[in-house]
């Protein structure tokens, strides 16, 4: 608090000394370039959008925030209680919070907002909420149609930033485009789709979560978020001072950036895994021994060292390391063992033939290996191809665009594929392995009675968070035992910034670069 006051005093003095406002305001400007995967958002309406970027988290606050260790922290909700049977949740709301249009945030705001999700693509986030009851002005009770131990995760999503209901009603389709009203530390000033978004500081802000040191008004006065699709251009903008902070720096750019003396890099733990699904319906992968051997042939440690210069971590199962469900029986983790792989293939009847390719009944062990274009996957796929050759498996690479490759999966024309996902929740297992989504997202084409039973238990019968963790861990372990995929790599999320211009707290607070971190950012005087 003392620090915040001091900064205010200092900038106040500077303002007087300089004598006119504009240069003081300019000095507090920060320009940020979006990451490539968050380009092209057409709206800042969190309720109806299918694509939201980092700026959204600065306009809207959430009831709950999630930290990098996946723990939940109070924000607009100061505390909450879950009923023992999971059929209701009570949230106590923060007092004195106001929206950008001056209207107060209270229980009515929550009661007005949740029903807005009905019939939108985001309705699944609140599907388990039957109704919202107002207990008193600052207390709401969410009555559930079924227990939803994942409710806090949903509430901490950017899509569940709380909009001002009066403005939401009034602006209709224009909400989030020509204007936006939230309770966040920044207000939407202007939005040019595909070009830039300008946010200005909310001068009344005094309700940050405990993830930020700064509990008051942001230190930065104005933020311009720019869309720079080409990574080389974005790098040159950073170098020449056109932008101060670059989100989503590709790992192979880090070495180039490290050379620049004024550029600092922050590596955040990633929220996803790169992996190789195996199509269990396509011979020879209908044989579990061949699948297991394929997994043992991939040397994750060597890949991290050679392709990624040691940045990031090897992946040995399907979930990111910070999730409790990732802590499975170590025997089930997939770890490089080329000797065991060769033994398994011999057992399965595949003998080494000419040109170091195995054969069985005259058929060579030649398989299709798919990947997507324009991504970091191309070089990774080539290394996987070389590693599979070590066990006598010839992999033929085909590269597709992201929409076409999904069509290949759905038409069951694939065998192996190198790809990645970005999701920090164990329900990703349901997404990629449920028998109800064969082809895509269930690229492994896996249908299994026991698997579906464990999936149903984890998804629907978990009464509370502990039960959910146990159920998903059991499901995860069963998935691992069936050798449906090969885990490869946990990438980091990288941020680069101009240290002559801004100070950014390291480590970044929260699972992604969001308002908690931006509140603590300062402009170098």
């Amino acid at each position: 608090m003392r620090y915040a006051t001091k900064t205010k005093l200092l900038s106040g003095t500077a303002l007087l000394a300089v004598g006119f406002l504009s240069s003081a305001v300019l000095a507090q400007d920060v320009t940020i370039a979006f990451a490539a995967d968050e380009l092209g958002a057409t709206s800042y309406n969190p309720v109806t959008s299918s694509n939201l970027n980092s700026a959204t988290s600065l306009i809207y606050d959430r009831l709950v925030e999630q930290d990098a260790d996946q723990s939940y922290h109070p924000h607009l909700a100061t505390s909450w209680e879950e009923a023992p049977d999971g059929m209701s949740w009570v949230f106590h709301l923060k007092d004195g919070v106001t929206f950008h249009d001056g209207t107060p945030f209270n229980a009515q705001s929550v009661a007005d907002w949740i029903p807005d999700f009905t019939d939108t693509e985001n309705a699944y986030l609140v599907a388990a909420i039957e109704s919202v009851e107002i207990v008193d002005d600052l207390t709401v009770k969410l009555v559930m149609s079924r227990p939803e131990p994942n409710l806090l995760y949903n509430l901490s999503s950017t899509f569940m930033g709380v909009p001002g209901s009066a403005a939401y009603e009034e602006m209709g389709d224009e909400f989030g485009v020509s204007g936006a009203v939230g309770t966040g530390p920044f207000k939407l000033d202007s939005f040019a789709i595909g070009l830039e978004t300008v946010l200005v500081r909310n001068e009344d802000y005094a309700w940050a979560s405990d993830l930020s040191e700064n509990q008051g008004v942001a230190h930065v006065g104005q933020i311009t978020f720019r869309e720079v699709p080409d990574q080389s251009t974005a790098f040159l903008e950073l170098k020449t001072g056109g932008i101060d902070l670059l989100l989503g720096v590709p790992t192979d750019f880090l070495e180039i950036l490290k050379v620049e003396s004024n550029i600092a890099i922050i590596q955040m733990p990633g929220t996803g895994i790169n992996y190789m699904p195996i199509n269990v319906t396509s011979a020879p992968f209908d044989d579990i021994k061949v699948r297991e051997a394929t997994g043992l042939a991939v040397n994750q440690e060597a890949i991290v060292a050679s392709i990624y210069n040691g940045v990031g971590a090897p992946a040995h199962n399907f979930l990111i390391g910070s999730l409790p469900e990732a802590q499975v029986d170590p025997m089930l983790n997939v770890t490089y063992d080329v000797d065991k792989a060769n033994t398994l293939l011999e057992e399965a009847g595949w003998v080494m033939g000419d040109g170091n390719v195995r054969t069985k009944d005259g058929t060579p062990l030649s398989v299709k290996l798919f990947t997507q274009n324009g991504t970091e996957f191309t070089s990774l796929t080539q290394v996987i191809q070389a590693q599979l050759a070590e066990i006598g498996m010839e992999a033929v690479i085909t590269v597709f665009d992201s929409s076409t490759i999904r069509d290949e999966y759905k038409n069951n024309r694939h065998q192996l594929a190198v790809r990645g996902y970005d999701w920090n929740n164990s329900d990703i297992l349901d997404w990629f392995f449920s028998g109800k989504r064969l082809g895509y997202p269930n690229i492994s084409m896996w249908e299994d009675a026991e698997g579906q039973r464990l999936n149903d238990v984890a998804m629907e019968d978990s009464k509370n968070s502990d039960e959910r963790i146990a159920n998903f861990k059991a499901y995860h372990e069963y998935v691992l035992s069936q050798h449906l995929f090969v885990p490869i790599y946990q990438p980091t999320k990288n941020i680069a910034y101009n240290s002559d211009r801004v100070n950014v707290p390291d480590p970044v607070r929260g699972t992604r670069f969001r308002s908690q971190t931006v509140l603590d950012m300062t402009v170098v005087e």
Binding site: G40, T42, S43, T48, S49, S50, N51, E121, A123, Y124, L125, N154, V177, A192, I193, G194, L195, E196, R226, E227, V228, P229, D230, S232, T233, A234, L236, E237, K239, T240, G242, D401, S402, S403, T404, R406, D407, E408, Y421, W423, N425, D427, I428, W431, K436, R437, Y440
Partner: protein
């Protein structure tokens, strides 16, 4: 006579547009993949997916979907983007000014500089100038746009710091993209102008004009240029269509919005209504360009009006 020609030529655009709309619709829908997978996120159920397919009418026969789309188009309704969640007309209206400014300026730049360079190289007696222009033409027609764009940024923005690296704010952000796109155009226009002028110069009537003692300058402006401009106008007219959609890579490198960038993004996500809307706009621009070119030629050369009548 000329008005009649324009009228019939414009009338032809109607059946052509309808055929093009069928082709565009079919190509877009026959591409593998669909927009729904780009819309749903982890956590939504297979039932949600099915509901979305119904909501956007993607379960209807293609012919029904086509008539629904073209019917709305006739009423000026471009439809709603599926993945981008905005009215297609809004998205096009937001991107069109960027494309028109960049494409229009690049077109003007390449036309003026190209014709000037072509004329100089065809008429100069200095071999050094001629060699220089020929070298420039060769370079301009072969250098890839994205590479030239990066070189321009490195030299003018990073080294000299004259212009911003990227963006679309203010006139100075336009200079490098216009030069990048214009460079290839200048080479093309210069080459065509040069060849046309050299051809016309060999005609007998030019020898006669020289024999009559007319100054070279008068022969060039009054007699050579009008003849030589016919093929140049044809080439320029074809490039009008490029104004709208020909700058995708340059837009990408310089981080500028535009119709080309919108089309590429929508195509990647299989956002059918947006792709169809953009492609139709581009097709119309090419057709209009051709029309303008034909009319200009007809106005310049009476023989064309006679033959094509």
């Amino acid at each position: 006579m000329l008005l009649r020609y324009i009228f019939f030529r414009a009338l032809m655009l109607i059946p052509v547009s309808i055929s093009i709309s069928v082709v565009i619709f079919m190509i877009v829908h026959l591409l593998p993949g669909d927009p729904i997978d780009n819309l749903i996120r982890v956590g939504s159920s297979p039932d949600d997916r099915a509901a979305l397919i119904t909501k956007y009418g993607l379960d209807q026969p293609l012919i029904t979907q086509y008539f629904r789309w073209i019917g709305a188009m006739f009423q000026g309704d471009f439809g709603e983007a599926i993945v981008l969640r905005r009215p297609v007309a809004d998205l096009i209206a937001q991107n069109l000014p960027y494309s028109l400014t960049l494409g229009g300026l690049a077109f003007a730049f390449s036309s003026i500089v190209g014709i000037a360079l072509g004329t100089i190289s065809a008429t100069t007696r200095s071999t050094i100038v001629e060699q220089f222009v020929r070298g420039f033409i060769l370079l301009g027609s072969t250098v890839p746009g994205f590479w030239l764009a990066l070189l321009m940024i490195l030299f003018f923005s990073v080294q000299l710091q004259w212009f911003p690296v990227s963006g679309a704010k203010g006139w100075n952000s336009l200079v490098l993209p216009v030069l990048t796109i214009g460079f290839g155009g200048v080479a093309l226009v210069a080459r065509v102008t040069r060849v046309a002028l050299m051809d016309v110069r060999r005609e007998d009537f030019v020898t006669l004009l020289h024999a009559k003692g007319l100054p070279s300058r008068t022969i060039l402006t009054r007699h050579l240029m009008p003849h030589a401009m016919l093929p140049v106008v044809t080439i320029l007219a074809l490039r009008i269509g490029w104004i709208l959609g020909g700058a995708v890579t340059v837009e990408f490198v310089f981080g500028r919005p535009g119709l080309g960038s919108l089309l590429i993004r929508a195509l990647g996500q299989r956002d059918y209504p947006v792709v169809q809307g953009c492609l139709l706009m581009l097709a119309l621009a090419v057709m209009l360009g051709t029309l303008i070119g034909d009319v200009a030629q007809a106005a310049m050369d009476p023989r064309i009006r006679e033959v094509k009548k």
